[in-house]
Symmetry: C2
Subunit: 257 residues, 2 copies
C-alpha cells in the first residue's frame, strides 16, 4: 500500500523555502543526505530528515558556517533540548544586538539633529562585534598618540547642506521657545510644556523617522544619561535637560491615557 515513502526534493524545497540546488548541495557535502532513494535514484526525505533540515536552516539563519552546523547537529551528546535551549539563547542574544543597533541609530539620528559630531569610535559603536574593553583600550594605546589621531579627533564632519541649515534654524527656534517657557516659570508637566514636547516629537517624525511616544521617552532618558546630549541641553541653561525630560514624559503620559 504505502508505495511512496518520503518526500521528493522539490516538495521539501517548497516546504522549507529553499532551492533544490541547496538540498543537492547539502547532500554533496554530507550535511543532509536523504535517508533513502527511490528506484529511479530520486532522493526521498523522511520526516526525521525534515527535522534535521529545519535545524540546519535555523543555525544557518543565525550565521553559522555549514561545517559548524554539521558539528553541532552530529554532536552525539547533544540531545534535542540542548539545541532548543541554545537556539533560544542565540535568538534572544541576536535580538538584543539588533535592539542595541536600533538604539545606536537613534543616537546617530539625534546627533545629526543637534549637530553633535561623533568621534570615529563613536561612529562604529553600532557594531559591538569586537570585544569592547580590549578593543577600546588597545586602539587608544596603538593610535592614541599619533598626530593624525589627535588632530582629527574632534574635527567638523562637514554636513553642510542647504535644508540642513533650515532644519537647524527650526530646531533653534524651538530651543528658544523652550527657554522662554521655562523662564516664565511654567511647570514641566504643564499644558504648554507638553505641547512643546509634542512639537519636538512631531519635528522628529517629520524630518527623521517615526518616533513613537515610547521611543520619545527613551530619548528623554538619553538626554539625562548620555553626557554628550546632556551637555548640549545644559549648555543652553542649567537644568534644561531635566526640564525637557520631564516635559516629554508628561506628554507621553498624556497621549497614552
Amino acid at each position: 500500500m504505502n508505495t511512496s515513502a518520503g518526500y521528493p526534493v522539490g516538495q521539501v524545497a517548497a516546504f522549507a523555502g529553499v532551492t533544490v540546488r541547496t538540498l543537492h548541495h547539502y547532500d554533496e557535502i554530507g550535511l543532509l543526505s536523504p535517508s533513502a532513494r527511490s528506484h529511479a535514484g530520486h532522493r526521498r526525505y523522511s520526516d526525521a530528515d525534515l527535522d534535521r533540515l529545519q535545524q540546519i536552516l535555523f543555525y544557518r539563519e543565525l550565521g553559522f558556517p555549514l561545517e559548524q552546523v554539521a558539528a553541532l547537529l552530529d554532536d552525539p551528546d547533544a540531545d534535542p533540548r540542548e539545541h532548543l535551549r541554545r537556539q533560544h539563547e542565540l535568538l534572544t542574544a541576536r535580538i538584543g544586538k539588533l535592539t542595541e543597533m536600533a538604539d545606536a541609530v537613534q543616537r546617530a539620528m539625534e546627533a545629526r539633529t543637534m549637530g553633535i559630531n561623533l568621534t570615529p569610535e563613536e561612529k562604529f559603536e553600532v557594531f559591538g562585534d569586537y570585544d569592547p574593553d580590549r578593543h577600546a583600550e588597545e586602539t587608544r594605546e596603538r593610535w592614541g598618540n599619533t598626530d593624525a589621531y589627535e588632530q582629527s579627533q574632534r574635527r567638523a564632519a562637514s554636513y553642510t547642506k542647504e535644508d540642513w541649515l533650515r532644519i537647524k534654524a527650526e530646531q533653534e527656534d524651538w530651543g528658544a521657545r523652550l527657554v522662554a517657557l521655562r523662564e516664565s516659570g511654567a511647570p514641566a508637566d504643564g499644558e504648554a510644556a507638553m505641547d512643546l514636547a509634542e512639537e519636538h516629537r512631531r519635528f522628529i517624525v517629520d524630518h527623521y523617522y517615526d518616533c513613537t511616544y515610547e521611543i520619545h521617552t527613551g530619548l528623554a532618558e538619553m538626554y539625562l544619561a548620555d553626557p554628550r546630549f546632556n551637555a548640549f541641553y545644559e549648555s543652553i541653561a542649567p537644568g534644561t535637560a531635566r526640564y525637557v525630560h520631564d516635559a516629554i514624559v508628561a506628554n507621553a503620559r498624556r497621549a497614552g491615557a
Copy 2:
C-alpha cells in the same frame, strides 16, 4: 601643521571591526574609495569616508548585496534622513522577524514536550520568508493530492529515545495531579494551583530552556489561542486549557509582586 590628513587603512579597519582586505575590496569595486592617498600611495580615509563606511556596514549587516548598497548610497535623491529612516524601519522589521522565530521556537519546544507532531508545513513556519498565502495554497494544490503527501501527513516522527520517555512520564504525572486538583474544586488562582503552575515552569527550565514568568504567561496565552495546544489540554478534560492558563497567570502575578 596639519601634515596628516585622514586615517590610514589599518586604523579604519580597527575602528570598524573589519579587515584591511575588506577595505581594499571595497576600494577595488568602487564602493568606498578613500578620498585621498598619501605621498607613498597609502589610502587616507576622511571623516566623510568613515560615515559612508558606517552606512555600508549597516546595510551589509542587514544582508544587502554590496551592489545594492552602492546603489542605495549613491542614489542622488536620498538624503541622510532617508537613510536613517530606512535603517530604522529595516531594523524594527528584522527584530520583528526574529521575535517571530523565537515564538516559533517556543511552540516547537512545547510541541516536543507534549508529543504533538507537526505537519511538514508547520515545521517550517519559523521561516516566514515566502509569501504565506500564495505558498500555502500553491503547495496544497500541487502536492495535496499525491499519495506521499496524504500518507505521511500525520506520521509519527519517531523521537523514541530513552530519557524522552522518562520526561514524558514526568509530564503525565504532572497532568494527573493537575486534573485531580481541579476536580477537587480548588480555584485556578489558589495556592495549590499556582504551585503546580510554578512546577510546570520549573519543569521547562530544567529540561528545555530558561522560561521566565513573562514567557510562561506567553505560553499560557498560546494554550488558549493555538488550536493544537488547546486541543491537547481540552482532550484531558474540557476547561483544562483555561484552568492552566489562569493558574499560570496567577502564579506569574504572585512572583512579580
